[in-house]
């Protein structure tokens, strides 16, 4: 699915004394099958933006267009499209409520109108996608699981709706390094298997450098930078002004360059840094 955002503007509490412009004239396109990273300081409007992308919020001005249809329309076509855009919030495990894991994961498909058998089939498939064995987990209470398991169940709940687009808001928040890696590996795996379009909201520049093919940078409700990771992370000063850092590999290269060493700084990952250094210093 291709998502075009055109001139999106959102204002909270319009007309009241504490009116806030959360988004101002935001425009960009998510190509089908792409992996985009959305970065920006807390309060820059990322949460508000993603809530527009699946229709939870309606814009004051502008539109979100999925496959040619404005998703804010009150038509069946628009509603069908909205349902194919999945959104995983931060700390998604806080939304679990059912008596068993299977029933919770079935909640989404049920709301879409599928039969009990279809729901269960989708739910079991979604559980396997997140690395949880359906038979072991299906009848367990979601509240008795570990933190990491709960999070996977919550993500499965969104995957069971079989979205074409998956938006994840800091899916690794609160996880230890091992959990962090596991979730991102899982996201990549799922993207591959279902050929999804992914939008990842994160504070972690290393993840963006490693996984994304496109980066969107927000500040105070505006989209201030857009490009490939290579393009974005070459602008250290601009990022610094926005309160954002560089991927560790890039930062190391910049420090070496500052000290006069003839290194290339368009390095994004650990492996690239290794190769550059060996080339120059080996």
């Amino acid at each position: 699915m291709r998502i075009e955002v055109k001139g999106l503007t959102h204002i909270y509490s319009e007309g009241m004394p504490f009116e806030t412009v959360a988004l101002e004239d935001v425009s960009f396109t998510l190509q089908p099958g792409s992996f985009a990273g959305l970065i920006g300081h807390t309060g820059s409007g990322k949460s508000t933006l993603i809530q527009h992308l699946n229709g939870l919020l309606r814009p004051v001005e502008g539109a979100v267009i999925a496959d040619g249809v404005d998703i804010a329309e009150k038509s069946d076509a628009a509603r069908a499209l909205r349902r194919r855009i999945g959104l995983v919030f931060q700390y998604p495990e806080y939304q679990l409520f059912e008596e068993t894991v299977l029933r919770d994961v079935c909640f989404g498909p049920k709301n879409l109108g599928f039969s009990q058998e279809e729901c269960e089939a989708r739910a079991l498939h979604a559980l396997s996608l997140v690395g949880l064995d359906g038979e072991t987990f299906r009848d367990r209470s979601p509240f008795g699981l570990s933190g990491g398991e709960k999070r996977r169940v919550a993500i499965a709940g969104v995957l069971a709706m079989e979205p074409d687009v998956l938006i994840l808001d800091e899916p690794t928040a609160g996880l230890d390094p091992a959990g962090h890696r596991a979730v991102l590996d899982m996201v990549q795996e799922i993207k591959r298997e279902r050929d999804l379009t992914i939008l990842l909201v994160t504070h972690n520049m290393d993840d963006v450098a490693r996984l994304a093919d496109r980066v969107l940078v927000m500040e105070k409700g505006r989209l201030v930078m857009e490009g490939t990771p290579g393009e974005i992370f070459s602008k250290e000063q601009e990022l610094h002004r926005l309160g954002l850092s560089l991927p560790q590999a890039t930062r190391l290269m910049k420090r070496l360059e500052e000290k006069g060493c003839p290194v290339q700084t368009d390095v994004l990952t650990f492996e690239e840094a290794e190769e550059q250094i060996v080339k120059v210093f080996g």
Binding site: T42, S146, G174, R255, K259, C261, A273, V280, F281
Partner: protein, 278 residues
Amino acid sequence: MSEAIIEIEQVVFSYVREEGGENIPALDGVDLEILEGSFVAVIGPNGSGKSTLAKCFNALLLPEKGRVRVRGMDTGDDERVWDIRKTVGMVFQNPDNQLVSSIVEDDVAFGPENLGVEPAEIRERVDAALRSVDMYEHRKKGPHLLSGGQKQRIAIAGVLAMESECIVLDEPTAMLDPSGRREVMEIIRRLHARGKTIVLITHFMEEAAQADRIVVMEKGRIAFDGTPGELFTHSGDLQDLDMPFAVQLAARLRKRGIDVPKDAISEMDLVEFLCASK
């Protein structure tokens, strides 16, 4: 010779499991000493027992076996629990769920009020504590208007107002964004410089690297106890530990024939070595 503030001897602790299965001990025979004025980081993956250990320090949890002593007081002694908690203060992971009052300065006053301190002195302590964490201007605000990093600073002020000698921070930055993490780590370093004993429970290696001493927990036991430098040059098989970027890169470069010295453990060290060699 520094005295020990906290002494942990052969402590065993298990949580009672509801959904059947045997009790796997969260702490399985831990010996540890925290010396006054030191900055100790306790690191390990989820489930390694580090949070459980933290709660043993101030008698929130009592060991099944073994003993925990704070300035000589046994945590199992009912009469001394309040003195122990006054000596060892704690800051928790969730910035929201540890703040009691809807006004910042009232929340910081909560601890001294519980201790029965005279009102005029409470006021002095609260003001001083808020200034120590750079939050004095926000003293009349409601906590729900503050960022995560600011809330954690209020929580730290709350412990400072109790004049605790030792501050234990249980994953204080886990729920914060990068700038919040930086704010909190800066306050921690500042407090350590002023003589407070700091125990930082964390899973971020960049934070643990700032301590004088790192204790690595694995499955309820201590797998390593030494300086950051010693840890990063450790050739053992510590599971799932994220070595800092520079340390990992240095190791790879050594394998590729570039002789990075073993004591280069930070980005700066690496940059300096490489540039000097050119």
